[in-house]
């Protein structure tokens, strides 16, 4: 091998290694910048104030609870809608649909994943908002529920594709065994396949909802953005953490308390998605390990 070849090989390997590490570098960078800009908020605003019930930053009221509640309510609402639809669709695609149908249905669901959230938000404003107000006889159609419906649509493709993968990964021998024992196809799905794919399906749900809690534009367009706390929040306007950042970030001057608090909210969102993803991937990992053990 010539010297030049060797040198080239060396340079390229270095480059590849560097790019390989990039994901870690970027996650670290993102976390560092959020820390650097968000942590000062903790010393500038007393904790009791951050845990307050009122978000009105231009009068220095930085209560984060209503925003947290808003994000949670919208996401839970989305979960109630998306889980049955998503899991049922996944079961249908993986277990019931004939092969040709699968080939059509899977890419079709993926289209939903590609729909820009502003397009859904736009339709939400024009079609869904008036419908919700008159249909549920509410004071206004800009509610958490409206956001939940859009978020359900957005988290559906994640739930379907991950859940379908995990159902697909259940060994055929499980099903054959159940069927051989005289179980119906449905009994096999309900008692054998679904329980065997349980952790995969749970992971799918978590990843889907992780995506939902981080969604911004559609939610900002249809939830009314009122930072209020009430027990029946699902049917009233709420304000999510993501919408708060998107609506207010452009405004604030760099280095002010307000700026730091918005980054603190970003940090909270980052940590939530971090937790969700760590949990989800460790669950998948364990499931894989268990499957290997059982099959060996």
């Amino acid at each position: 091998m010539t010297k030049r070849r060797k040198l080239l090989e060396f340079v390229i390997q270095g480059l590849i290694r560097l790019c390989g590490y990039s994901a870690i570098v970027f996650v670290a960078l993102i976390f560092l910048f959020l820390l650097q800009e968000g942590l000062p908020a903790l010393s500038e605003v007393p904790l009791s104030s951050l845990l307050g019930a009122r978000w009105y930053p231009i009068q220095n009221l930085f209560g984060l609870l209503p925003l947290l509640l808003g994000s949670i309510v919208v996401t839970l609402g989305a979960a109630v809608i998306a889980i049955p639809f998503g899991v049922a669709t996944a079961v249908f695609i993986a277990e019931v649909a004939p092969r040709w149908m699968r080939e059509i249905l899977k890419p079709f669901v993926e289209i939903l994943a590609g729909l820009p959230s502003v397009v859904l938000g736009f339709l939400g404003i024009l079609v869904l908002v008036p419908l919700i107000r008159t249909g549920f006889n509410l004071p206004t159609g800009l509610t958490a529920l409206t956001g939940s419906i859009l978020l359900a649509a957005m988290s559906l493709p994640t739930i379907v594709s991950v859940a379908e993968d995990s159902l697909d990964a259940v060994p055929k021998s499980y099903r054959d065994g159940a069927l051989a024992l005289g179980a119906t196809k449905w009994q096999t799905i309900w008692r054998v396949t679904l329980p065997a794919a349980k952790s995969g399906v749970l992971t799918a749900i978590m990843l889907g909802l992780g995506r939902a809690i981080g969604e911004t534009m559609a939610v900002m367009m249809v939830t009314g953005n009122a930072a209020q706390m009430r027990w029946d929040a699902l049917f009233y306007p709420i304000r999510t953490m993501t919408a708060t950042i998107a609506a207010e970030m452009g405004e604030v001057a760099r280095g002010t308390t307000y700026y730091h608090v918005l980054f603190l909210i970003g940090m909270i969102l980052f940590l939530i998605s971090f937790l969700v993803n760590i949990l989800a991937s460790s669950m998948l990992f364990r499931a894989k390990k268990r499957a290997e053990r059982m099959l060996s």
């Binding site: 994901a23 289209i111 938000g121 970003g266």
Partner: protein, 283 residues
């Protein structure tokens, strides 16, 4: 009396089919509705002319061009990095705790909310590096966001290339890089392309990450350098559906349709590449 298990099965399958049909019909309805409402607005003039009269008339050309710029710029940055990272993971890295940390980082990168990317882009590219609100800052932000999609799909494609191919190349005296460059990459190309397009599709449709890093409400001319801000289709749709008074609904639906066609076309291309090569694959 107990319901017979055959009846139970029938009920369950009917329910499953209904739910599935509802989901699919929902998706179809969304797309059909936008096509129906938006199609009358489409004309060469709408696509190729500048907006006039406070954006209430004229076309959306600068927004289309802006989205193309942002998508290409993102590709230029994210594709090489993502591809090499995938090569590293599938061809070079051993299964060490460090490699596992990289995988966890990728999964996390994929899960970070888009608006947090916007915050990060603002803090690092716009302010810290002084790029200002510009195409450059927006593309860099979008690149980091699309990176995990590109890495994981490209890695999957690389891994699906049978080990035998590599063994043959190496046994004939090929170096590791030669093996990757001449043998593995070409074989995995369709899969990689699919991943790249799906990643870019997401970048093209996103609003939140470019909100503070490069999107402009209105520009009278097309951007001239990567340090100019730009209009973009998703942000434009957000603007005209929430910010401009007396905006004709027709233009709103027209813009939504153009954006939809943009991402659907990318999606279609990705799906076609995948199914075409899957059917032709000989191993």
């Amino acid at each position: 009396m107990r319901i017979s298990r055959i009846v139970t099965q029938r009920i369950a399958f009917t329910l499953l089919t209904l739910v599935m049909a509802a989901t699919m019909l929902g998706i179809l309805a969304i797309i059909a509705y936008i096509f129906l409402k938006g199609l009358p607005a489409l004309s060469p003039e709408f696509i190729f002319s500048m907006p006039t009269h406070g954006m209430r008339e004229g076309g959306i050309w600068p927004a289309i061009v802006g989205t193309v710029y942002l998508t290409l710029g993102t590709a230029v940055i994210a594709v090489p990095i993502g591809l090499l990272a995938a090569v590293y993971l599938s061809e070079y890295a051993s299964d060490s705790p460090f490699t596992r940390a990289i995988r966890i980082a990728i999964v996390n990168l994929a899960g970070i909310p888009s608006v947090v990317y916007g915050l990060f882009g603002l803090a690092l590219f716009v302010l810290f590096l002084g790029l200002g609100s510009s195409i450059a800052a927006a593309c860099l932000t979008l690149s980091i966001m699309t990176l995990p999609v590109i890495i994981s799909t490209a890695e999957e494609a690389l891994r699906s290339v049978p080990q035998a191919f590599r063994l043959v190349s190496v046994s004939m005296g090929g170096t590791r890089w030669q093996t990757v460059w001449r043998i593995v990459l070409p074989q995995a190309l369709p899969g990689i392309l699919t991943g790249v397009i799906l990643g870019l599709e997401r970048a093209a449709g996103e609003t939140a990450p470019i909100l503070f890093t490069g999107a402009a409400y209105f520009l009278p001319q097309l951007p001239k350098s990567i340090f100019d801000g730009t209009m973009a289709l998703p942000y434009h749709l957000f603007v005209i559906s929430t910010q401009v008074p007396g905006m004709p609904v027709k233009i709103q639906y027209g813009t939504a349709l153009v954006l939809l066609i943009f991402v659907l076309a990318m999606n279609l291309v990705a799906t076609l590449i995948r199914s075409y090569y899957r059917s032709r694959r000989q191993w």
